[in-house]
């Protein structure tokens, strides 16, 4: 992973759009709600999936987040999730249907369809949150939503030091290459193990130095925040509208099915 590709994970689309300007809490709750609705919906209540996709599409359009951005980011996660689902039709029992030369389970196909839909909606929600909200703002929002403080802190440091660690790894790789390191068989790959060990020790040391630097500036156990978050009317309207709409569609789809 290059530093360049890490920079690509930031905000995309129109920074001044109404979606980008929403309070991070509204976006976290709203997009999480989309995911929860999708995950809790059985395949027979399919209109709920349509509603979820519609909400995501609306968010993307208003925020001007293009399909190329969505695709390039979803691509990182989605194949891993779908990989598991692909095998289900082959191993499930019950009524079989033949698709060309192979016969697959009907229930399995339904599961595959449901998993794909749910995974796509969940992934797109996360991608849209990331594309319309800066990572520090997401963390701030999570903190204000009472997510465990320690986890938020760890995520924050991970974000800050990922770049430093990637840089260090790249320098070490260059140093290996500069001394003509080119593993030809497994035993020669042992040097990579040492790189990992040395990365661990370096990050551990850095952790201690950062903590000392924090203490030196009066750190007392809680991270202070410079900006206050304030829910405005637009945030409440967005959240209320979204939840009402999704809730209604979800219930109606269930009843009609």
């Amino acid at each position: 992973m290059s530093v360049h590709s890490l920079h690509g994970t930031g905000i995309a689309g129109d920074l001044a759009s109404p979606v980008h300007r929403l309070d991070p809490r509204a976006k976290i709750l709203g997009l999480a709600a989309v995911t929860v609705v999708a995950v809790s919906t059985p395949l027979r209540a399919w209109p709920a999936f349509v509603a979820c996709f519609a909400v995501l599409a609306a968010v993307a359009v208003v925020g001007r987040v293009g399909p190329r951005v969505l695709w390039s980011r979803a691509r990182v996660v989605l194949p891993l999730v779908l990989f598991v689902g692909v095998f289900v039709p082959f191993v499930r029992g019950g009524a079989q249907v033949s698709v060309g030369p192979v016969s697959v389970s009907e229930a399995g196909l339904a599961t595959l369809a449901a998993v794909s839909l749910k995974a796509s909606i969940g992934t797109l929600s996360a991608v849209l949150l990331g594309a319309t909200t800066g990572f520090p703002d997401v963390l701030h929002g999570l903190e204000r939503l009472r997510a465990p403080r320690l986890l938020v802190l760890i995520a924050g440091f991970m974000y800050r030091y990922l770049f430093v660690i990637v840089d260090e790894t790249r320098r070490m790789r260059t140093a290996l290459a500069a001394r003509a390191y080119r593993p030809r068989h497994v035993l020669e790959a042992a040097a990579l193990g040492r790189v990992v060990i040395s990365m661990f020790l370096r990050t551990y040391d850095r952790g201690e130095r950062v903590y000392v630097a924090m203490l030196a500036r009066g750190y007392g156990g809680t991270m202070p925040r410079l900006d206050a978050l304030a829910l405005r009317r637009a945030d409440l309207v967005f959240l209320a509208g979204l939840l009402t709409m999704l809730g209604a569609v979800r219930v109606a789809a269930e009843v009609m099915a």
């Binding site: 800050r160 850095r206 630097a213 009066g218």
Partner: protein, 246 residues
């Protein structure tokens, strides 16, 4: 409160048995800029961590009117600003603005006051234009100046810098020198960049083996080749005259 730093017989031994400080005596007056020179492993960083109460050994140490190891550590840390060698250790928040605000907010200032401090501190190091950037987007020289802003924002009486000129290109080094020369705080600069010390500080001490072995005008100390050689220090070749003129 007569001195910015008043150390008497300060000793510190690390848990693994290594002697960090072996009886340091030092007094620094208000407004003075003093260079602490010495080879690697001389105890320079150990001394620096003592000034902020992050380590505490035996002996007596008063810094900015507070006896180290007694009372509120936070009050001491408000008065003493440490700038560490690697700015990546010092800049741990996602944006420059939040990082500079970290200290003032910890001191209990309101958000509005903290914002004011951030603006002042960044202006003092001429880094206002990077306020909303992430630290990893800055060059090393810029990060080092922002690191100085993070402690300036706490309005310290004493500024302690660890190897501020290390691995900077000549231009960044020059800019840093100008930035520091404009500041009015009492300053203790830990370095083995002797010419940097000569330009910035009137006074220098040599720390070697955990003790102060020489104390005097910076120019005098740098002119004493035998003294420097005895403690593994030397001026870059051909620059003796420059230092002598300083």
């Amino acid at each position: 409160m007569s001195c910015a730093i008043e150390a008497h017989d300060v000793r510190y031994r690390y848990p693994n048995g290594v002697v960090g400080l072996d009886g340091v005596d030092l007094s620094v007056a208000h407004g003075e800029r003093i260079a602490v020179l010495g080879p690697n492993g001389a105890g320079k960083t150990t001394l620096m961590l003592h000034l902020n109460g992050l380590l505490s050994g035996s002996g007596t140490l008063f810094v900015a009117g507070v006896r180290v190891g007694e009372g509120d550590a936070r009050q001491l840390r408000a008065r003493v600003g440490l700038v560490f060698q690697d700015p990546d250790d010092q800049l741990f928040m996602p944006s420059v603005r939040e990082d500079v605000a970290f200290g003032p907010l910890n001191l209990g200032l309101s958000r509005a006051e903290a914002c004011e401090r951030v603006a002042e501190a960044l202006a003092a190091v001429r880094m206002q234009h990077v306020a909303d950037r992430a630290p990893h987007q800055l060059s090393l020289g810029q990060r080092r100046r922002v690191a100085i802003a993070t402690v300036l924002a706490m309005d310290p009486r004493l500024l302690v810098l660890d190897e501020p000129s290390a691995s900077l290109d000549p231009r960044s080094r020059r800019e840093l020198l100008q930035t520091l020369a404009r500041l009015e705080q009492t300053m203790l600069v830990v370095t083995h960049d002797l010419l940097f010390a000569a330009e910035l500080c009137e006074r220098a001490v040599i720390l070697s083996g955990g003790r102060i072995v020489a104390d005097g005008r910076c120019a005098d100390i740098l002119r004493d080749e035998d003294l420097l050689a005895a403690h593994d220090l030397e001026l870059p070749y051909g620059r003796l005259e420059v230092a002598a003129a300083a």
